[in-house]
Amino acid sequence: MNGFLRTEVLSKRFGDTIALERLSFAVEQGEILALLGPSGSGKTTTLRLLAGFEAPDAGRVWLDGEDITSLPPARRRSGMVFQHYALFPHLDVGDNVAFGLGKRGKGEGGSVSQRVRGALELVQLAGFERRKVQQLSGGQQQRVALARALAPEPRVLLLDEPLSNLDPTLRERTRRELRQLIKRVGITSVFVTHEQEEAFDLGDRVAVLRDGRLEQLGTPDELYERPRTLFVATFVGRANVLRDEVAQAFGGKPGEVVVVRPERLQFSAQGLAGVVRERRYTGASAFYSVEARDATLRLEVQARPDAAAIGDTVHLEATGVLAFPDERGVATP
């Protein structure tokens, strides 16, 4: 396996719980990889192993052809943005950013202060050097954390839920700006998130983790259109999970589980009969909750806003289904 940053069969246990089991993946130079998974899936542990805060029980980590498995964090030349930013409250913005620029103090040569200014310009906080970090807004703190991580020109950038601390209204914009910035710098990045939308929006590729194992690694399109497991199919995007006769009615073989996305279901003249119980309007379309099979089954349908009304009796057909051989767990997002 090639790759600029690479893990080889990483395993880690905490006491009796298995945090990671034989995890292998590779990140190309300049690529952004999202680690996506529910809590307890091992994504944060993976990031901490990449940073060097934890040592793996087995396996190796390679960076730029160098085995860094047993290198302490201080010597890995990685940058990290922490979930709560971990800005040093006793230092101002400039000193925070300068912290990683070696022991040379301020004033000695122009280079440190120049690099601090450069890093702050990168995140559009030029002139903020002497501000106290407590005076900054959440979004500004996040950008200072980013500037601090990037200032020493690390080989890889690690981000732990970088947007979770922001206002929901701010999140989407910041997400786009963050991606643009990382791409401009061209740094290889790995970030952790539990939100599918964030992973798809920010990552070039996404690694879906579950119980310390890698379920699937691929581009957002691959994960959504061609999920390899039932878990990925249900964790990534909305999904109707069908079993037994219903599954077979939608084209599944005996013993198979069938997953149908809401937008792949449509109202038609024939097919599975049901009654519309709820309608959630989202503008471009609406989500309909359809009760079928004597109220033992509920299906979510995405269709035009005027496709049906509450109380209507409808028939459902699928335009595309995903079938999985067994029932190895459904994600409950």
Partner: protein
């Protein structure tokens, strides 16, 4: 990496065990002699002394609670002119080191003190109207100096109570009295149990008051020192072990009550607003100010006596001459300056050492979570659980023989023994402050430093220590004040060359140089107050 931290952890365990546990074990072994134990058990006087220690401590708890709890309610719940200032002043007995408080009481209420002289002059008596001696005098000093524990802890407890709980009780139709009994007091139980424990342990270990005011009335700490000074070492050992056992039994009993009552308030909430007093305002204000005067009288007395030059005050009610002569002598006469210098350097060394150990212990137990973390924490608090006399005796016993193979060296008589004793005594204070601070420190901050390329030492100096500054300052000030004012271990372990201020105060008293003793007391009080103020004012990084 984890294993290396474990090794460091065991090294710290060994160091702490050598300083804290080993001397106690040596005393225990020395005491385990049949003849000495039988002699102890057969002497009714010993049982009387042990019982006196217990009942004096229990009575101190009752008195301190009776004063401290109502005051805490008054100053938290009622607002009147000057209530804020008084609320702060009322904690002032805390800045009096034990021996200094005792001599202030001597000058104030003693048989030739101001109050006695005043009464004598007023009633035209030929001699002093009373002797300040025995159990009553000890309890008076204890009540005065220990109500502060109840006062401060009750106020802290009241501040934590969610005001909406009180309001909920009232909305449910509970009367003021019922709310107090059914809601407020149960919620305060952990705070009150903590205060009771603190008071009991302090009273049990109290030495200065019984030493100066006891007369024929002995408690175990004074009894132990008397046995030691009489050269009856086996007896002193058995007595020490008996006192230590009482302390440990009391600790486990009281901690159990505290542990059962872990009532956690749900939600943050705000404390109820103080009631602005309308009716009876004048009465409460006058009473509160009168109380403040009573509380501050010892401080003023000390200050006044320190201005009375030697042999200028004999039978007059008030001293006729006041000047700064005593202070001048204190700094001009080298053998007076010496104890001052001794106390300062010994307290500073002990404080610095206890901070270093506390920081290492905090790092090992909180951050690295090394295997022996529980042992480290227990060893750090052990000196708090045992009276000072016990440790004084233990150190005197352990370090008076040269047995390098048994890790025992002759330190008694050298200038190392008192700093060591102060260090042991101040470990729990520094340890508690620094450990609590470290627990609140976000581990991501140290990780951020590490990933930015900072090594362990740079992270320590540039991140951990600056962020822990409030906790370090608080721990340092408490450790320093305790060491500076120490009397109980000093009297057992001092040598002439290393005599600290408290010993010099005592010898000045014996020579009837009251002014000098008071001037030393004022200095101790001032330095303690400044240190405590600095320690509590160091601002946290929010």
């Amino acid at each position: 990496m984890k294993r290396r931290a474990d090794v460091v952890g065991w090294v710290v365990v060994a160091l702490l065990a050598w300083m804290v546990a080993y001397p106690i074990l040596i005393v225990g072994r020395e005491a385990a002699r049949e003849s000495a134990i039988i002699a102890f058990a057969r002497r009714p006087a010993e049982w009387q002394v042990l019982w006196a220690s217990i009942w004096i401590s229990l009575a101190s708890v009752a008195l301190a609670a009776a004063i401290g709890i109502p005051l805490a309610f008054l100053f938290t719940r009622v607002e009147f002119p000057g209530s804020r200032l008084l609320g702060a002043l009322i904690a002032l007995p805390a800045v009096l080191p034990p021996l200094v408080g005792v001599i202030a009481f001597l000058f104030l209420y003693g048989e030739s003190g101001f109050v006695a002289r005043g009464v004598q002059a007023l009633l035209r008596l030929d001699h002093s109207p009373w002797h300040l001696q025995g159990a009553g005098a000890i309890l008076l000093v204890h009540a005065y100096s220990m109500y502060v524990y109840f006062y401060l802890l009750t106020r802290a407890g009241l501040a934590r109570i969610d005001g909406s709980m009180i309001e909920a009780a009232q909305a449910l139709g509970a009367s003021r009295w019922r709310t107090l009994r059914r809601v407020t007091l149960p919620l305060l139980r952990p705070a009150l149990a903590g205060a009771a424990l603190l008071t009991f342990m302090t009273a049990l270990g109290s030495f200065s008051a019984p030493y100066v005011f006891g007369g024929g009335f002995r408690v175990m700490p004074t009894q132990i020192v008397a046995s030691k000074l009489n050269g009856d070492l086996p007896r002193a050992m058995v007595e020490t072990v008996a006192l230590a056992l009482v302390a440990l039994v009391a600790l486990s009993l009281l901690q159990r009550t505290e542990g059962q009552a872990t009532l956690v308030a749900l939600g943050k909430g705000t404390a109820p607003a103080p009631r602005v007093l309308v009716g009876g305002r004048g009465l409460v204000t006058t009473a509160a100010w009168a109380l403040a005067v009573v509380l501050l009288l010892p401080h003023f007395t000390l200050l006044l006596i320190s201005l009375v030059p030697y042999a200028t005050w004999t039978t007059e009610t008030l001293p006729p001459v006041l000047n700064l002569d005593n202070y001048r002598r204190l700094f001009a006469e080298s053998d007076r300056l010496e104890p001052l210098v001794n106390s300062l350097w010994m307290a500073l060394v002990a404080t610095a050492a206890s901070l270093v150990i506390a920081l290492a212990a905090a790092w090992l137990t909180v951050r690295r979570r090394v295997r022996p973390r529980r042992i480290i924490e227990s060893l750090m608090v052990l000196p708090w659980a045992l009276p000072g006399t016990v440790f004084a005796l233990a150190l005197a016993t352990a370090f008076s023989v040269q047995r390098p193979l048994g890790l025992r060296w002759v330190l008694v008589g050298t200038s190392a023994i008192l700093p060591l004793a102060y260090l042991v005594r101040s470990l729990p204070l520094a340890g508690r402050a620094v450990l609590a601070g470290y627990r609140q420190l976000d581990p991501a901050l140290e990780e951020a430093a590490a990933i930015l390329g900072a090594g362990r030492w740079r992270t320590l100096w540039r991140v951990t220590v600056p962020l822990l500054r409030p906790s370090l300052a608080a721990g340092a000030s408490l450790a320093f004040v305790t060491a500076l004012g120490d009397f109980v271990t000093s009297i057992v372990l001092y040598t002439y060359n290393t005599r600290p201020i408290s010993i010099e105060i005592l010898s000045s008293l014996r020579l009837n140089e009251l002014g000098i003793a008071a001037a030393f007391g004022v200095l101790l009080m001032t330095v303690s107050a400044v240190a405590l103020l600095l320690g509590s004012r160091t601002e946290a990084w929010s």
